[in-house]
Symmetry: C2
Subunit: 412 residues, 2 copies
């Protein structure tokens, strides 16, 4: 894409009302727009990155048998009353509103209830199990404070997968596969090395849930990391008793701030029992379905990548989630030899299927480089006088700053 | 995909609470689930079809220079107050709610206001124009009645594109391109022949807006169609005066019921003036930006395709939007020769990149065929005894009912 056509403009100054690094940089670079506190729109570059994160998660969810669907934001009060999660004194972050046709409704904070009800129409026999269904869908949470940029929004994208299994054994086997899939997702997203399976409070049906925590000073959680075993324990459950159960030694643990980028829960029959989701087993006996939930917030992950990888010059994207792979920066002016060389290289890159943002604008070199650093595209190719004279292009690695000279053929 | 793995099950009976044909069939076939009146979740087959509709629209919007982004459902009351569209006596279908942190908010019914505000940060000079930005995003409209299935939801997907132009001439040129792009979209979606550009009431800035109306008895609109000129006039504006202006003769018009599947509006400076979206022209003069809006509801389009093309046996999808292109129906039972032949053909189809739903379940042939008709996948390939014995497969065209025999090689 030609940058002269891109409608967003980068800004020199961080917005005064943003305190988090991720929002400051993403707003400055024109990736997102702040509508209100905790409410962000995704502009073209931001949406491209978000979609790449989504696609990586989708591929890994499909690989473990997930079936994609999409539920609604508007929620049925009666349904949530049956699981006792409607009242504000039980769940304190609902957005509630009402229908002109009568009756209250709320905006989905999560989707155990509606999906469990849907499954009552499709699951009746052991032959119908297991089922794994997931969605990418906007959640709404009426947060009192919003100071973490896109990492804790009042409206944010969530991938939520729910598993429906015959029994605990079948559940546990999938739970283990989901854990591996999650680790693969974070590896592919470029934050695998900083991300730890972390034991946290579990709820009714298991002693621990498992969080995926990415080490970052911007994190709201405190965790204790065993770097050798590559696991961690959330401060909230890090008692001597818990450590004994988990086979960990307090002396091996290091305290870190971390961002929760995913979590997996054993829900047991917490939802299937009150909502009547049961199946008939091989012997004809009726049993409640055993459930699990598996969340990753793509928008939070995007913010986390910024917090972890950005530097003082701006964003730094791993290639897998960068809005473009190459930033082609021309130092030419309309129609000169440099512009012609740039145009030709741009055409070749597009033809080769490379995702390239082409800075064809008539601006000073320093301004272009600063903006290029801010945007964080992994590889910058500079077309200046030298390229025209020698045929060698300057290729800059955004993450390392390494500069090499490459000929046209070496680029491809 | 193997149908034994698909979690949805088709139903024999239409749900008692649905009056519209589209919802009756889509619920029966397991494409959608009704959460509440006018609120539908999209199950795996439904989401596949919806995503194909979305992708066709996306390609045509990109082809006319659209830049994709995505805005939020939560809306800023102050912003909408500035254009006088916040009060319920001005706009009567808001869902309103409030922040725990204080203040009211509403769920986006449309997005002129937030996008105009975003553009004030990116447009300042004539060099920044024109800009065309669009999104696929869920709208919320607090409809009093919801009886048209997925065609009029309280929460529904919308593609809304907004144009930002220097002047009326530039606007008009794009408006004409958008009209052509829309006609192409409906052609690709398989309802082109039934869809007419229809003149409707225009608002402040132009005498007429243009709707895209698809002829259907399920339509809520009445239009007068000139079939030779392939244009129509909405009843609401079909006066003698209007007909004269449009160069149409009343005698050439036929009254029809129709579904509004798209619309394009000249917004003039209705939003740019109150929200301060202006630019400096070549002479240094400050001018308000001229805007247009261009909507298509992918979910409504999906319902319309059902209304127009479905028959007494069930859904009928055009290939471009079908969840799968081939429905491979095996009449075998676990492990017999028919199953083996089916498995082999399935493997070959998958390898060839054909989107195939493989009915590998152990059910009676009649049940399988009835369900196959209900699902509406364009091409059914039946593997029975004959296929094993002669190598010829029965290939059924869902839309026409035409049956032909094809060898393995003829299928590919």
């Amino acid at each position: 894409m030609r940058q002269s056509q891109l409608f967003t403009k980068a800004r020199r100054e961080a917005p005064a009302d943003e305190v988090s690094k991720n929002a400051q940089l993403l707003v400055r670079a024109g990736y997102v727009h702040k509508e209100m506190a905790g409410v962000y729109s995704y502009l073209p570059l931001g949406l491209r990155t978000l979609n790449k994160i989504v696609q990586i998660i989708r591929e890994e969810m499909n690989a473990i048998g997930g079936q994609e669907m999409v539920m609604t934001a508007l929620q049925d009060k009666d349904l949530w009353s049956r699981t006792d999660r409607w009242d504000d004194d039980k769940v304190d972050n609902w957005f509630k509103t009402s229908f002109k046709s009568g009756g209250e409704t709320g905006l989905g904070i999560t989707h155990e209830e509606p999906l469990t009800r849907i499954m009552t129409e499709h699951i009746s026999s052991y032959r119908d199990l297991p089922v794994y269904a997931y969605q990418f869908q906007n959640k709404f949470r009426n947060e009192l404070r919003a100071k973490s940029g896109i990492m804790r929004g009042k409206e944010f994208l969530m991938k939520d997968l729910y598993s429906f299994s015959r029994d605990e054994a079948e559940h546990d086997a999938f739970f283990a596969r989901a854990r591996e899939a999650y680790l693969k997702v974070f590896q592919r997203l470029g934050i695998g090395d900083q991300t730890y399976v972390t034991f946290a409070s579990g709820g009714i049906f298991s002693e621990f849930s498992e969080e995926f925590q990415t080490i970052s000073e911007a994190g709201e959680d405190t965790i204790y990391v065993d770097e050798k075993k590559r696991v961690a324990v959330n401060k909230e459950v890090c008692t001597d008793e818990a450590l004994t159960k988990l086979g960990l030694q307090r002396d091996d643990l290091v305290e870190k701030k971390a961002i929760e980028v995913g979590n997996i829960f054993n829900l047991g029959t917490r939802f299937s029992e009150p909502l009547g989701l049961s199946y008939t087993d091989e012997t004809g006996a009726k049993k409640p379905v055993v459930m699990g939930s598996y969340g990753i917030g793509p928008t939070r992950v995007m913010g986390t990548i910024v917090e972890v990888l950005a530097d003082e010059k701006g964003l730094v994207w791993p290639e897998a989630v960068a809005p473009f792979v190459v930033h082609l920066v021309s130092l030419g002016k309309g129609g000169d030899e440099i512009s012609k060389t740039s145009d030709a290289l741009y055409a070749d890159l597009v033809k080769a299927g490379v995702e390239v943002l082409y800075d064809d604008r008539d601006l000073r070199a320093g301004e272009k480089f600063a903006e290029s650093d801010l945007l964080g595209i992994p590889m910058r190719i500079v077309v200046g006088k030298e390229a025209v004279e020698t045929g060698m292009f300057e290729v800059v690695n955004r993450a390392t700053g390494e500069v090499v000279k490459k000929s046209h053929d070496e680029i491809f």
